[in-house]
Each structure stands twice: as C-alpha cells, then as structure tokens.
Symmetry: C2
Subunit: 345 residues, 2 copies
C-alpha cells in the first residue's frame, strides 16, 4: 500500500511546516504555502487517508494534523535529502576544531559544543571506547617512601595512572623488575582481555621479594585498567530545550533532564548503538519516547571508535542534523588520523 506522489508531497509539506512551527498544520495553510495545485478540501481528503495509514495524528477533532513517528521514519528513510552546510558553519567548525587539535578530549568536547550551537539542541560526545586497546607497557614509579605511581600505556598512546600507597616498603629495583614483569605478561593484550582473565594468577612470581609488592599493586592495577576502560561523556546545550515549545511544561523538561542524570546508564546505551549515522525516532527509543536521537561515529587512527550525538524532540530538522553530523565526524576522524596515527613515516 504505497503512497501516491501527491500524498508524499502533502506529507512532506506537513512535516516541513510542523518542524518549523511546532503547531498542528491545517489543510488551508498547506494549500496556501505550498503550490500543489489542489484545494484545501482535496488536501483534507488526502490527510484523512494519511491519518488512516498512521502517518498523521490528530490532537483533537478541530485541530490540524501532526506527523507521527512513522511519518518521520519515512521522511528520514526516503524523503529527506542531504543538506550542504552553510559557509559560516563550515568556518565555525574548522576554526574551533583547529584550535584544540592537539588536545584530544578538548577537541571532542568542542565538537559537541559545535553540535549544540549549530542545531540549538542538546548534544553529547563520547571519547572512544578503549576495550580494543592493547597494552604497550606498564611502569611503576616512586613518589615517596610508601607511595608509588602505576602507569599503564596503551599502544594507541592512551595513558592512565593511579597513585597508590603501599603497605610494604619497596626498592627501585623491585619496582623496575615488577614493571618489566607485568609488561612482558600483558603487552599486546587488550584491556578487556586482561581485566577478564583473573590476572592475579597470571603474573609469574619467580622472585620471592616481588610477591608481596605484587600483592599490593594488583588491586590498584585492576582499578586502573577499569579506569582506562571508562569513556568520558561530554554533554552540551542541555538548557537549549527550554526554548522549545514541546518542553514548556515543567514535567516534560524534568523528564528530559533526568535522562542525563544517570550518566552511566546513558553512556552504556549510547555505546551499544551501531556505527555510522543512526537515527532513532520517538517510540523506537527505550526511554525518551518523545525524543529523537541521532548518533554518529568518528574514528581515531582508523581504529578506536567514539560517538557524537544529538537529542531533541521528534520534530527535528533531520536533514540538517544528519548532514552536520556526517560532516563533523568526518572532520574529527581526519583530525585524529595524523596526531595519533602511524602513517606518516
């Protein structure tokens, strides 16, 4: 049961109008604004059919029509066309990203900022997941009599460290020995892998003196690994939604805000999404059934994968937002090729 050409035109017109004005659109205004060559009455008939098919809804009898999630889905899948960014936006992006090029996290945060500034919606960025990262080396360093630093370095240049206080004294030699020992054991293995295999067993304890030091260090090592696996979430433009009519009710606004109160939950959800530009509309989401969510992935050094996202009402300029996100993630992936990459020797 396909839609006729005219039905598609009308649907598109309704979506455009509703996205713009956030108000149910009536047959008359469609007929006036869009030159479809038919009268309001005809449009009313088509609207009625579209409603029956589930593409439109009706807040109440004497109101105009509102696009349903199904309509937006159709729009995103087949109707929408790629948009070119304005020169202004392009310049804004390149300026901002250039400025922070060598600071990894700052660049990612700036990307999220740009996203919320340009779309006027809420955006976020996730630093790349590191579960595929492999260990390059591990080093222990002295701070004072009882305090040492444990440092884990990944092969993509990721670094994480913890300061830990030992219950036993140590010597420089024992630290060096244990560092080597651990590096040999774990080098080349992924963080996930190391964390999962119950490593306490793994490390060879050929030398007696190391045994107690190792015992002291292991919990901190595990903690540091976990820490290294954590991705950072940067949220931007949360208050933007207050300017949208759909969030003029305090309850709606609260629900929206509360989504992001549980950062961990949200981060997990976002990590689970497929790669590339992914759009989920309204009901397709587990929570936030009245929002749409668009995510896209960028790559670091062609390997590690991070995410950008935009959240807003289902009434959203899908064409502009997806185009922008595609542009931004390409730009990011490009930026992150050289500095961390191994492809310019």
């Amino acid at each position: 049961m396909d839609l006729s050409e005219r039905q598609l035109q009308i649907l598109q017109a309704i979506i455009n109008d509703y996205v713009e004005n956030a108000e149910p659109v009536g047959s008359r205004s469609i007929a006036k604004k869009y030159d479809l060559g038919v009268s309001p009455a005809t449009i009313r008939n088509e609207m009625s059919d579209l409603e029956e098919m589930g593409y439109l809804t009706h807040p109440h009898t004497s109101a105009g029509r509102v696009p349903s999630d199904k309509a937006y889905r159709l729009y995103v899948n087949t109707l929408m066309k790629k948009k070119n960014l304005s020169a202004r936006d392009k310049r804004l992006i390149s300026d901002r990203l250039q400025a922070s090029r060598d600071e990894f996290d700052a660049t990612i945060r700036h990307a999220a900022e740009l996203l919320s500034e340009i779309t006027h919606l809420t955006s976020f960025a996730l630093t790349p997941a590191t579960n595929e990262e492999t260990i390059a080396f591990i080093r222990l360093m002295p701070v004072d009599e009882r305090t040492i630093i444990l440092m884990i370095v990944g092969e993509s240049g990721n670094v994480t460290n913890t300061t830990m206080r030992l219950k036993v004294p140590y010597t420089q030699e024992s630290l060096d020995l244990l560092s080597k020992n651990m590096t040999v054991t774990y080098k080349g293995r992924t963080l996930d892998d190391v964390l999962k295999s119950h490593i306490i067993e793994d490390v060879g304890t050929d030398i007696e003196a190391l045994s107690s030091l190792r015992g002291n260090v292991m919990p901190g090592f595990l903690r540091t690994l976990e820490d290294m696996l954590n991705v950072n979430l940067y949220m931007e433009g949360m208050t933007n939604i207050f300017n949208l009519p759909e969030y003029s009710s305090i309850d709606r606004a609260r629900d929206f805000m509360q989504l992001f109160a549980q950062k961990d939950w949200f981060t997990q959800k976002m990590l689970q999404r497929a790669d590339g530009v992914v759009v989920t509309i309204g009901d397709e989401n587990t929570k936030m059934k009245d929002c749409s969510l668009i995510t896209a992935t960028y790559h670091v050094d062609g390997k590690l994968v991070g995410k950008l996202g935009v959240i807003g009402p289902t009434r959203m300029k899908y064409d502009e937002v997806t185009s922008l996100m595609e542009y931004l993630t390409n730009n990011l992936s490009e930026s992150f090729r050289l500095p961390d990459g191994k492809d310019d020797e």
Copy 2:
C-alpha cells in the same frame, strides 16, 4: 534597634513554617501551631513591625508574610542551632565513603552524591585546587618512533600526562636527559609559579641535541601544567529542584539550569569563596539572587583544599545542611589524611 525576645520567637516561627511549607504564613496559623501565649492580633502587630524592619515581606495585601533574605541572614548568624545527623544518615555516609576510599575522585563525587541525596537539593564537589602543588619530577617516555608521553608528578602524588607527537626523532638518551634537566629546573616549584614565569627561557640548553627536542616538548609541557591546574567539578541532583514549588515555573527552572551550563565560570566563582562553611543568601550572591549557596572546604593531607557545595532556594534548612556539610567535610579530610599523607611512618 534590637529585636525583642518575642519578635525573635515569631520570626523563628515564621521561618520554620515557611521553610516547611513554602507558603506565606499568616498570624493565625502561627498562633495556633506555636504556643506563644498571644493572640493572632498581637502577632499581626509584631509582624507589621518586623516587616518595617525588613525581616518580612508581603506578596500582596491579603497574604501571609514571607521571610526576607535579611531574616535568613539573622537566622543563620544567631538563631540557628547545630543539628545532629540521624543515625541513618551517618551510616549512609560512612558506607558510601568507605567504599571508594582509595579512589580519590570517586570519593569526592560520592560526597557530592550524598549531599544531594540527603538534602534533596543540588550539590557539587570540586577536587582540590593544585596551584600550591609543587613539582616532584618530570618524566618523558617513548611510545613509538615519533610519539612520547610527558608526565608531571607533584609532591602530593598528583599526576598528569599528555601524549604528544614530535616533529623530530628522538633517542632514549635524549629523553632521559631532558627529563632530568627539566626535573632539576622545576623540582620544588609550584605549578602556578612555573606556568607564570615564561619558562621557555628557563631550561638550560647546554647540550645541542636537546635543543630541538626541548622546543618540541615545551608547548605540551605548558599544556600539561595547565591541565594539572584544572580542578574537576562534579554536579549532582540538578533535577531535584524540579520538585520544589519555587521552580515550578519554567523560567525559574531554566535560569537555575543555565547557571551550571557555564561550568568554568561556576568553578571559578566557587574557588574564590572563603574557606570553612560559608553561607550566602539570595541577594548576597552575584547571580542566582533567589538561591542560597553553602560551601565548605575539605583538606587533603592537611594542605590542598577542595570544596563541597549545596545550592537551593533561600527557603532552605540551613541548620541541617550546614551541620551535614560540616560532618561530611570533616569525614573527607579525615579520609584523605592517611592515603596521601606522610604522617604514619
């Protein structure tokens, strides 16, 4: 022009009632609930005097009275008594803080969480300011042909590092040499000091080979120092305010949320506040003139100073909140004495 004993009693009663119910309180309800031995009419007269003195206001002619900022100030300064925490809260606190004792940032974040859970307000925590931190050593480590890690370790065990890509090749020896070189130059100096003195000049370049390596490393070094000076801000319970009647208007709620959108500004403001428990009420704040803000400081190793804070409407249980914060910061300072301290050998 001091207040009489009875006026103080009435003021206290009004504050109690208003803090509890968020509604203007009338003379009759005071007379009924609090046994002051006088009739509503007398209370009305006193109220009228209190209003003249600026302790009460009047939303409109036929409404009850509402305490002014001045009244809360009086209450906080002289009327309020220290409250003991409930056994339940004490247990909650010790459980939660114990659980994360060895993870510094996690502990601080948990303190903020506790604060918002117990008070049902918005809370935050700042990791300690590190401008007084002194440098212990600096180390450069190889990752691959062109990539190295720069690591700065402070004498309190603070560690920060950056991965940087060099434009020139390097040798292990040159890294070691530069590490030593930099450590000798900066050891014992505060981060602030090092960052301010235009260090490019400072490092001795006795050996020619180091010169270009040094030139490559310096920008990253400065960036890392800056990074090390940054404090982290953890906000908790932002959505709690949606449950308060004073934020049932969307505009109020938006203003509140927007305060925290500029994290940097907010952080700076909070760092400027005096040590100890500090209460600022309504108009005493630069922004958020309809909020009260309570901050308290905790200490790490008796030296570095971090902050906890609570933000809510001026209608707030000042006695409970300040008591809680005192308890929490003492607890934190206690926790942070041993692990990072040097006082148990």
